[in-house]
Amino acid sequence: MIQTIGRRSVAAIESVGRVGHFVMDMVRALPDIGTWFGLTIVQMRRIGVDSLPVALFIAAFTGVVLALQASYTFTGAVPLYFVGTLVGKTMMLELGPVLAGLALAGRVGASMAAELGTMKVTEQVDALETLAYDPQSYLVVPRVLAGTLMFPVIVAFAMATGIITGWLTSLVLLDLSTPDFLKGLKLFYVFKDVWFGLLKSATFGFTITLVGCIVGLATRGGAEGVGRATTRAVVYSAILILVLDAFLAVVLL
């Protein structure tokens, strides 16, 4: 029993050390701008195009549900224009970044782990090294930078979409006028709502892409190994998003 706990503790510390080492290698690759700059633009385009439809789809329905649930909860006790407050605050502070983050962990994180995992098991990563490229500057830096930069853009669109569908729902199904919805939306609005949500999404973007790269490049075995890496990337990313979400709320709110 004690031995098992000891072994697992050592393994956990080793994992943290490996991640630290990986991040240090990535930082050391940053001066190699000639290699990663063009590839980052390609990755930004890919992440944006791949992720926007999923994020907007989720945000649109979340906005509808938020408006309806707020109205259901407020019935009689709270003025209906508070629907605008709840939809705005929740989309900006929590559901926009977190739901998009979780969806993109499946979309972007899994696809990166699968792509890099396949490159690893087919020796393409070794081939890259023998051609005198650093896999960190060719594969990792572009993906992590693109994720960190693009996630806030995607989440900004998701926030806007959620608020718009919340407003349309209020207008059509709740008999709430546009001026009343806007009144509620502006009531407790502070600029921090937006930057906090966007900062959170940048953190999630960094985490999801970093996990995808670490897990992908650690892939061993054939197709089975790639499958395992993909699942692992999604699970680790989802857990880290929720932990980071709580951590940032404690530290910044």
Binding site: M119, E123, Q124, D126, E129, L131, D134
Partner: protein, 241 residues
């Protein structure tokens, strides 16, 4: 010159290389033969620093590979072409882009890159395939593109990992002829890892047999063919017992 010095390497508690020592002189082609899983590819990967030895080292042009830092390894790799067992072509790039990648890293101009790509593809009889994707090529063609990618770099050394494995006899002969032609045209030093004896006799100046983690015998093609060592004899004759 490449020199393996008492190289040891193990994975998950299993010792693969147990004191491999071998010298490869300039402008010769040495073929390393041996059973599957005896560490032939592992030895090859130590030459370019893809693996780090548990003990011992590989010396390339007087430099101990395991002591090189990142920049040192990059410099070393610029002089070495590596042909992977399954070609390891980049799926998302065309054939020409696969060849260009290493050349761009060497800071060559566009015209020279184009010229070298055309020349390398011609040398492997694949002119006109530059715009095709690796997935559209047969196994033999992929291997030839892998060789072209190494040749285009005009390296001092070329390392071939199982270049004819999984190919039909005619395609294998084409690859063998290509390796000989590469040595004659470019005068490079070659290390070939294989268990295909016909290929070993065709391309090798010397043959070294790796057995139980170290070199069992090394000699010219004729010396190996006349060997009386029972282990080497059994292997080169392909006898079950």
């Amino acid at each position: 010159m490449i020199e393996f010095q008492d190289l040891h390497k193990g994975f998950d508690g299993k010792q693969v290389l147990q004191g491999l020592s071998l010298k490869i002189r300039d402008a010769e082609t040495v073929v390393i033969i041996g059973y599957s899983g005896t560490g032939k590819s592992v030895a090859l990967k130590h030459i370019v620093g893809l693996l780090h030895p548990d003990a011992g080292d590989v010396i390339v042009d007087g430099q101990a590979v395991s002591t090189l830092d990142r920049d040192g390894l990059t410099g070393l790799r610029r002089g070495i072409g590596y042909v992977f067992q399954f070609a390891a072509l980049f799926d998302s790039l065309t054939v020409a882009e696969n060849l260009e990648l290493g050349l761009k890293r060497r800071g060559l101009g566009e015209e020279e890159i184009e010229e070298r790509v055309r020349e390398a593809l011609a040398l492997v009889d694949l002119s006109g395939t530059g715009e095709r994707m690796p997935a559209e090529l047969s196994g033999g063609m992929r291997k030839r593109v892998g060789i072209a990618r190494a040749i285009a770099l005009r390296p001092r050394y070329i390392l071939y990992d199982e270049p004819t494995t999984g190919l039909d006899p005619v395609t294998s002969a084409v690859i063998d002829r290509l390796m000989v032609r590469t040595r004659e045209h470019l005068g490079v030093t070659g290390v070939v890892v294989t268990h295909d004896m016909r290929s070993a006799y065709t391309v090798g100046d010397r043959i070294a047999m790796l057995y139980e983690g170290r070199i069992r015998q090394v000699g010219s093609v004729e010396e190996i063919q006349r060997t009386e060592d029972p282990v080497v004899r059994q292997f080169i004759e392909g006898r079950a017992e």
